[in-house]
Subunit: 210 residues, 2 copies
DNA sequence: TCGTTAAAGCGACGGGTGTTGCGTTAGGAT
DNA sequence: ATCCTAACGCAACACCCGTCGCTTTAACGA
């Protein structure tokens, strides 16, 4: 890890918003320790283990410091998510639209069925905290943007109409997975992921997303 | 799944389920007043306004009574949801699969964009309270069962293969609406609802849900 | 009508959460 | 080397939430 600049990126609350008047050693170190504590607690005990007090305790930082910089648990998660967005992920290129969409849905399925349910915890948090919600939406928007290349490749190959709405297609392909696993809490079968991807591809070829 | 958890019936705690040893006047009246208070508070201030204390206060009932009968906010919502499931709703019959699915998605869209966001509040609650989650899943299962008839009608008309998986098709049609409005918080445009319904219908006709 | 007993009312307690005012530390600039 | 001040540490506080033991009410049955 490099964390080139003290980041101070989007992060919901305040940590970096503004002129960042004092990005020096101690503040950065506190942030590092707190964010690590959040991740550790989330992995160990899920969302329920994520109390501000517990985070501060684990990080070896005083409670008030956490309250002042991150406001609440949502703010902490927002900051963690902001960091997570800065990776270099990109969708696989399998050579066909079906294959690409299935590959994406496999990853979605994996993320949603992972133990402990980090993604589920983040989504649950997004319903409570506006900062966490904003960070999560930014994260997803970024992911869908990166996935758009899959549709562009398919268009170039002539698999789908050139005017296909990439985002609409991607949402149609992935939404059923979220719906089944997150909202309906139904079968955790990978088959639903594959079927949803293939169905969306069929509709796209028929020009349903133009 | 039939490991008979310690909890009795469906509705989270106990309120109406079970032998109902004393369904007489006072208990019933208390339940009525409390459930009305929940609905009223939910309409006024959304989920955040829904504290046990506030409910008890509004209902003119002592706090401990609510805690004993419903346990927590999730239990209250579960009871409200259980009542809501006992209606006689059924999907419209427009004469075509496209029309039926679009009509369903219009209702989903309306429910999700309603002000105040009752559905959103219930879903948010389902992430915090197992009883509320169970009640919500039961509600949705019931709704999808009732909607299956539109697929059967389409199959009878020869619009889709006879072996079409009704639930998979319905999820593919509706999931994008939930995804956009609830998770991505994107455009509240009704067009997404219509497009998702039509795309699912296209895929179904091509036999993607068999 | 009257006794039984579920269920509601009541007050108090323990624990956790978020806030506030003030003292202390240390980063950054002169 | 020194000052300034942002950021952290600290302790106390008020508040809210959920629980517990006890008392009171009133539904149901004889």
């Amino acid at each position: 890890m490099d964390s080139s600049p003290p980041t101070t990126g989007i992060s919901g609350t305040d940590p970096g918003a503004g002129p960042a008047r004092r990005p020096g050693g101690r503040s950065a170190q506190v942030r590092r320790r707190v964010l690590d504590a959040v991740a550790a607690l989330l992995v160990e005990g899920g969302y329920d283990a994520l109390a501000v007090d517990a985070v501060a305790d684990r990080a070896g930082v005083h409670r008030t410091t956490v309250y002042r910089r991150w406001r609440d648990v949502g703010g902490l998660l927002a900051d963690v998510l902001a960091e997570a967005t800065e990776d270099d992920w990109q969708p696989r290129d399998t050579g066909s639209l079906d294959g690409d969409l299935v590959a994406i849905n496999h990853e979605v399925h994996r993320a949603l069925t992972a133990e402990p349910p980090l993604t589920g915890a983040l989504i649950a948090a997004s319903f409570r905290s506006p900062p966490a919600a904003a960070a999560l939406h930014a994260f997803w928007a970024d992911r869908y943007d990166r996935c758009a290349v899959v549709v562009h490749r398919a268009a170039r190959r002539g698999e789908v109409p050139a005017r296909t709405d990439a985002r609409a297609l991607l949402v149609a392909a992935t939404a059923p997975v979220y719906h089944e696993l997150l909202l309906l809490r139904g079968a955790a079968d990978v088959a639903v992921a594959e079927r949803a991807a293939r169905a969306a591809a069929v509709a796209a070829r028929a020009g349903a997303f133009t």
